[in-house]
Symmetry: D2
Subunit: 158 residues, 4 copies
């Protein structure tokens, strides 16, 4: 049990390092949440083509894990948000994430510049499938490939 | 392009709300990163059984999205970390995440108490598969089911 | 190109071995297709509990791959069909498969007896998530874990 | 229980329709199994580029489901085999499938001509990630997108 605690729970010292941070509340539905600020700040939309969104993002230290690599969860955030953005841009129904899957093919460290490409794969009823590629912009190496499926609750109105 | 910018990039106002936060650096390999603090602070390891870890976690406002729901990316973090923890506890090789997939079945809001169960599914060579269930602790409703596959780089030494 | 041809395309000899087989047509919507016969013949429904279906299946030689192991695609068939069955039994909308993901944790050979457990994970709108475990019935070892998401086209009528 | 039996188990009539088919045994490791013949017969490798394999495949009646659509499991077979082929062509280690995930975006019926594109996404240690697109060759519409991860048991020798 101690091993699991050490792995998951934070020590007092770690808690103290950040206890002074205050996360301001946001107005639901109208404002970006702190979470979105935290995961996306610094992302840039470079170009849009039909069914595709191209972004760049410099890996910030705040999203790195124990080893200084871009955290897997932070990659999942990018797949979630950039997949959502491409569906939004295309005007497809998108209220709810239903499935997400990601292959992690290599890693990125703080300061690396990423190219993130979101694509609509297709649509069936109120359900939209997207693909998100996360690449090292300098080397072209693929860091992760994700798929994100969204389902529009109010599909019938669209 | 403006739609995508509005969806992904942050406005000046949003940036100002949080610009005062400083994310302290961490010593690689020895300290938890801010990212881990941010995604996991408050998680509690309740119980360990062979191949299983049971945790509770009260959804903090800092992990909610625009609509005030636990963000999909934050659920992915939990799948990543709790899956990693159960592999770590079992002493299986676990250096690298190779695949993660998640079904989102319902949602949670700030203050909801979650039960998070990580299980080892099996192991093949240096590769370990885990399953992570995220439930509403009060109602028992399943919020997400995730799978996380990890691969040990130094499998031959283990 | 020759390598890919050798891997994917069949030689004349292989074609000759089976060229005498005739696959009878079926009446759409009312009859099982040959495909279903081929992938499922021999499966037995042993027990049903709320939200769960328990089956047994002895691995037939016809579903084994080059190495004599139950083919990955055949495991995918089981995840697809048993996931579909549990949704059908529960009376949930299920017209269309939208996502399927599988972790392969060990293997089975011809003659091995499998236990296959399908579970409803949850439902959101017309969308249902299921989990399918494929185990060796004798040893209890997990062979594969799959998730299958189905979406009901006519959700509004249900 | 009757509903599940009706869904999964075959009736006597269905069994009789195909009981005359004999599935010839194959020599392990050296011959294609009947399963591979059954799922792949008719596939054609059209072109190879670095890291990519392009195939065409006309949907045969033998792979259609109850509704006359290419079965989800048959699509999974194609993702499995074409993903395996591209790894094989590239000379990457590939002994074992570890993960497969598929989004089903539209459907195909008997006689439709498919284009199937397998791509290497990347490689980490003995682990290789591939992506497989299944398209309608006439309309260009995407039918399915799959990812297939393979792991080489003898990675250290390669």
């Amino acid at each position: 049990m101690e091993k699991a605690k050490a792995f998951l729970e934070l020590t007092q010292g770690e808690s103290d390092r950040v206890s002074s941070l205050a996360f301001p509340p946001h107005r639901l539905g109208t404002e970006c949440s702190f979470y979105e600020y935290y995961s996306l700040r610094g992302i840039r939309v470079d170009r849009i083509e039909p069914g595709q969104v191209f972004c760049t993002f410099k890996v910030p230290p705040r999203l790195t894990d124990r080893e200084g690599k871009l955290a897997s969860g932070a990659i999942a955030n990018l797949v979630d948000e950039v997949g959502g953005a491409v569906v939004y841009v295309e005007g497809l129904p998108m209220n709810v994430s239903v499935d997400m899957s990601i292959s992690f093919l290599s890693s990125a460290k703080a300061g690396d510049e990423l190219e993130i490409i979101g694509r609509v794969l297709g649509q069936k009823g109120g359900y939209s499938g997207t693909s998100v590629l996360v690449k090292n912009k300098t080397t072209g190496e693929l860091i992760a490939e994700g798929r994100h499926s969204l389902f529009g609750k109010h599909a019938s109105k669209m």
